[in-house]
């Protein structure tokens, strides 16, 4: 467990000093929101609340892919990946530390994106803020679990920039379906539907445990 905390501390400290992942994700997210805003046809607020979550989740997922792509790429500098591979003990803790750090960064970027999105699209976010936050937090467990594992698997490949989204996005389809369904409800000021929450919890738990166990094999050559 200490190894997970150590990795979390290291990743957040290096990100705080370099800010390369967060800045790239924020710039991308804001640009997508701006572009969508220009392309968006005029519509009634109720209609807007039905479509907006889809746009927001597309932005979230592609921004997350950018962040996840760097999760292990930063370990290739000075071959720090070898140092991680040489750590004794269960390597799943390394996965957990990296996934948690990515979860923190992605969630931070999503919060800022939601704020900008609300300004541009004139969507009232505050009414269902708790439910929205819960959905984002749960969906991010799946995104960061699978994303961290796939990032480690693809990092040494020549095609890593292509491989990561191609492998990641299909595995997230059930998560995104539940997240969008839940967000539609929270944007309308309702509580998130129980079946969407249930799905996010179950898939998140399964992905987290599976990725924790599989990570041991990923670091081996």
């Amino acid at each position: 467990m200490n190894v997970a905390w150590t990795l979390l501390w290291k990743d957040l400290a290096t990100e705080w000093r370099s800010r390369d992942r967060v800045v790239a994700m924020i710039v991308f997210s804001f640009l997508v929101v701006v572009v969508f805003q220009f392309a968006w046809p005029p519509m009634e607020p109720a209609e807007m609340r039905r479509f907006a979550p889809g746009v927001l989740w597309v932005t979230y997922v592609f921004a997350a892919v950018i962040g996840l792509g760097r999760t292990f790429a930063m370990e290739l500098e000075n071959d720090a990946m070898t140092a991680l591979s040489l750590a004794p003990g269960t390597r799943g803790w390394i996965f957990l530390g990296k996934a948690t750090a990515t979860w923190v960064l992605i969630t931070l970027v999503q919060a800022m994106t939601a704020f900008v999105f609300a300004l541009f699209f004139r969507v009232e976010l505050w009414t269902g803020i708790a439910g929205s936050a819960l959905i984002v937090a749960l969906a991010n467990v799946s995104i960061c679990s699978v994303g961290t594992l796939l990032s480690a698997m693809s990092v040494r490949s020549r095609f890593r920039d292509v491989l990561l989204p191609v492998l990641l996005i299909p595995t997230l389809i059930p998560v995104l379906t539940a997240a969008v369904q839940g967000s539609v409800a929270t944007f309308a000021g309702e509580a998130p539907p129980f079946d969407a929450l249930q799905l996010l919890i179950v898939i998140g738990g399964v992905y987290l445990i599976l990725c924790f166990l599989l990570f041991d094999f990923v670091l081996d050559e």
Partner: protein, 264 residues
């Protein structure tokens, strides 16, 4: 410091159709210092990565035993006994020198003892820059930090993959002195190099690899070799002497053999 024995029997490593190692046998006793010599592509780094537990052999057996034990260490236990220094420094440029050592200690399940880490930094001559980010270090400073990082968990075996790459003469000499001091502590040192001078300086014997096979096992013979003024001699039969000219001649001959094989 208790010791470990490293044994390899019939090791083979394949990457697709390419065979990087074939039929490699060796035994390295605790406290020994052994160099793995050979040209580029001879299989030196591949062998070292198997020794580090970073890679599994495609065939053959590699095992590590503690003093007096009959049961070999698991790969997980092995990782705890290994310190690794590569061409790359394995440190994070955004962290300070001290933070890099704290991170390495915690990664190996050790509580970071600040006094010990400061002592380690002093030993490698980096105490003045303990709070400076490693990304601002020169290549020599970063490599010294890498040495400190590799021994932060007090490993019994130190694996060094071309640690002198990119160092100027002064930094290389300083590194060589530090490695000699680690060897004097009773650690097992396994040095991958293509430079026979460094091999002789830091090792008791060498394994000379050529195209994935061990072609020679020159070793220093204490005492007798010194008496005739040659410094050292081959350990077995027709093995070349463990001295600079003989090793250089051997490596040149192997390189020529390689060119002839390629031409044929």
């Amino acid at each position: 410091m208790s010791r470990v024995l490293l044994e390899g029997a019939g090791l083979e490593k394949r990457f697709g159709r390419v065979t990087a190692l074939r039929g490699v046998d060796f035994e390295i006793a605790g406290g020994e210092s052994v160099s793995i010599l050979g040209a580029n592509g001879a299989g030196k780094s591949t062998l070292l990565r198997i020794l580090a537990g970073l890679s599994r052999p495609s065939r053959g057996e590699f095992r590590v035993l503690r003093d007096g034990a009959t049961k070999p260490l698991t790969r997980d236990e092995l990782r705890g006994e290994i310190g690794y220094v590569g061409h790359a420094t394995l440190v994070y440029g955004e962290l300070t020198a001290l933070e890099n050592l704290v991170f390495a200690a915690r990664l190996h399940g050790r509580a970071p003892d600040r006094d010990r880490l400061v002592l380690l930094l002093a030993e490698v001559g980096l105490l003045d820059v303990a709070d400076r980010r490693a990304g601002t270090f020169s290549r020599g400073m970063a490599q010294r930090l890498s040495i400190a990082r590799s021994i932060v968990h007090d490993p019994r075996v130190l694996l060094l993959d071309e640690p002198f790459t990119g160092l100027d003469e002064t930094s290389a000499e300083r590194l060589s002195t530090q490695l000699a001091s680690l060897r004097a502590d009773g650690r097992t040192l396994i040095l991958v190099t293509h430079d026979p001078r460094r091999a002789i300086e830091l090792s008791d014997r060498a394994l000379v690899l050529h195209r994935g096979e061990i072609r020679a096992r020159p070793a220093r013979i204490e005492g007798a070799a010194r008496e005739d003024g040659s410094g050292s001699a081959g350990a077995n039969g027709d093995a070349p002497a463990f001295e600079l000219d003989a090793l250089r001649a051997l490596l040149t001959r192997l390189a020529e053999d390689g060119r002839t094989e390629d031409a044929a």
